[in-house]
Amino acid sequence: MLEKLLDASYRISRWCSWGAGFLLLASAFLVTGDVIARKFFNVSLAGADEITGYCFAVGTALSLSFVLYKRAHIRVDVLYQFFSPRWRIVSDIAGLLLLTGFTAMVTWMAGGLVIDTLTHSSRSITPLKVPLIFPHLPWFIGWLFAVYSGVLIFFVTLMRLYRYGPGSASQLVGVKTIQEKQDAT
């Protein structure tokens, strides 16, 4: 059951990162349009930078969980290479928990920000006067989904460890081998 949930969450996370990426592509066109309009027609699309900033914040937040599923976080593995498989999985799980803990702390504080935005109906202090809840809410959901993913990966790792041993568990949380890193680039 947990494995199925993991699979589904991974797929959602991947879709989110695609969505975020296409948002980024769209921003590239918006900003390019702004530069060209400003340079050659002397008109400025006011707020292109602001909108792009929002897209960026939302996009990265929605992609945070994908980094976890892809094990793409940088870890310094000078000593790790010398650990036994048992100690490696201890380091993997501790690393995952600490990372999720830090993400949860940020998410908690981000939640406070979102509640403030809601209670004050805050708008951006720019000509666009964007109601900030529009970018804040999906941004917060991205962070929340990253925390959820961290917790989920933790439980699936424990389950795999119990059922199949460290080999299967480290496929979820271990440091990538050179070959895996290469496939990723």
Partner: protein, 427 residues
């Protein structure tokens, strides 16, 4: 306080805790140990402010630009063109490794992407043309490092962000040292091949007409460079805007090469968002940590301590250089930049050195870190493409280029104008 902080960071990093978590947790621990104020409350604001910072949008844009260019296949034409023009030099294709890396670096902000792109095209030539495989591998690993020095560079943006230094000025400053370093690399290859002629492989024979025919593939990367870096130098666009221009230009290029498809775009954006989200979390942790360090007074304490040693500015500078060279053997460059720059920068500036110049020196130090064992990402990248043989071949092959980088560090220290002349001309 300093000792506690260092011990904690070393322990977390050595236990292979993800770097973002290590820095964030260090910040949180130092807050609870040494601060009367609940500093962790700024995390939400920091995450939003930096997460939506228009300057930082340049990072995903440059990553995306690289991902698209990688998939257009312009690298092989570029490599072939360089090979035909540089075939007369002793060392043949190895010069092409450096020159096409430099050219690719001028369109890409990442050293790993540069080494991976050029490596994939270059490595099959070792056997075909019987090169000394070690030096050849080393030249690919070293050439790739140019990615972060020659603008556009993602690392220079991060340095600019952390130290409040103008990114356009840094981009201007990186250009000449980048070209010089590429030439120092090529000189290294030439000298090595003159001492050991058997290393230089079977030269390719080309006519002048063939050379001319090899020119057109060199145009697209140059065009992207002109669009991206030119628009920054000319003052038309900020680095982020320039990166967006580059992305759009690369898309048209992909269209021209017949490589544009939905599947290709999906792969490109997937890679981009994975890298971006990873980097942004580290940046957030680093910014939070630096905030904590300055509030609890640790940054000042460290600066006072170093100044109090009573060393001359040059000795202090050399000490910092050695510190980076040692740290670079063990740490990945991005995390190294983000953890250390906020600490070394105030020391350097208080000694009277130029912030822009130090940014460039730091990039060369980070480049060295990319090819010094045991942790040198470019060594892994090259070994990964090669897929067989011993890792030590790459390490030994990269060694002469580590010395080339020492030469570059010396050049920058003795003649700071190599970096500062161009930005001073513009500003």
């Amino acid at each position: 306080m300093l000792i506690t902080a260092v011990c904690l960071l070393v322990a977390l990093v050595a236990a292979a805790v993800p770097v973002a978590a290590a820095m964030g947790l260090l910040g949180l621990s130092l807050t609870s140990l040494y601060s009367a104020m609940p500093l962790h409350r700024v995390l939400g604001d920091l995450a939003w402010q930096n997460g939506s910072d228009f300057l930082l949008v340049a990072i995903p844009m440059f990553v995306l630009l690289g991902e698209i260019l990688l998939r257009t296949g312009i690298a092989s034409g570029m490599y072939d063109g360089m090979a035909k023009w540089l075939n007369w030099l002793p060392g043949g294709l190895m010069h092409s490794n450096i020159a096409s890396s430099a050219l690719f670096a001028a369109t890409s902000g990442s050293s790993v992407a540069t080494a991976a792109t050029i490596g994939t095209v270059a490595l099959p030539e070792i056997k075909r043309r019987r090169y000394n495989h070690r030096l050849f591998l080393g030249s690919v690993a070293a050439g790739g490092t140019l990615g972060i020095l020659i603008p556009p560079s993602i690392n220079l943006i991060l340095y600019g962000l952390l130290t409040n230094t103008s990114v356009p000025a840094l981009y201007l400053a990186g250009f000449i040292p980048g070209v010089i370093l590429a030439m120092v690399f090529m000189t290294t290859i030439m000298v090595a091949c003159m001492i050991f002629p058997s290393w230089s492989g079977i030269p390719i024979k080309v006519s002048f007409r063939q050379r001319l025919a090899a020119l057109p593939p060199l145009v697209p990367p140059l065009a992207i460079f002109v669009a991206v870096v030119g628009s920054i130098y000319a003052g038309w666009a900020t680095p982020t805007e320039a990166a967006a221009l580059g992305v759009v230009a690369a898309l048209f290029l992909a269209l021209g090469y017949g490589k544009l498809s939905l599947a290709m775009l999906r792969d490109a954006v997937e890679g981009t968002m994975r890298t971006t989200a990873m980097i942004i979390l580290i940046i957030l942790a680093a910014i939070f940590l630096n905030f904590v360090l300055s509030v609890i007074g640790l940054t000042q304490a460290l600066t006072d301590f170093i100044i109090g040693l009573g060393l001359t500015p040059l000795m202090t500078l050399l000490m910092i250089v050695v510190f980076y060279l040692i740290l670079g053997c063990f740490m990945e460059t991005l995390s190294m930049l983000l953890t250390t720059a906020p600490l070394t920068f105030p020391i350097i500036v208080s000694l009277g050195y130029d912030p822009v110049w130090f940014g460039i020196l730091l990039m060369v130090l980070l480049e060295t870190a990319l090819i010094t064992p045991p942790i040198g990402i470019n060594l892994y990248v090259v070994q990964g493409i090669r897929d067989k043989g011993s890792m030590s071949d790459v390490i030994i092959g990269a060694l002469p280029f580590v010395f080339s980088m020492f030469v570059m560090i010396a050049i920058l220290i003795i003649w700071p104008q190599t970096a500062l002349w161009l930005p001073e001309l513009f500003y």
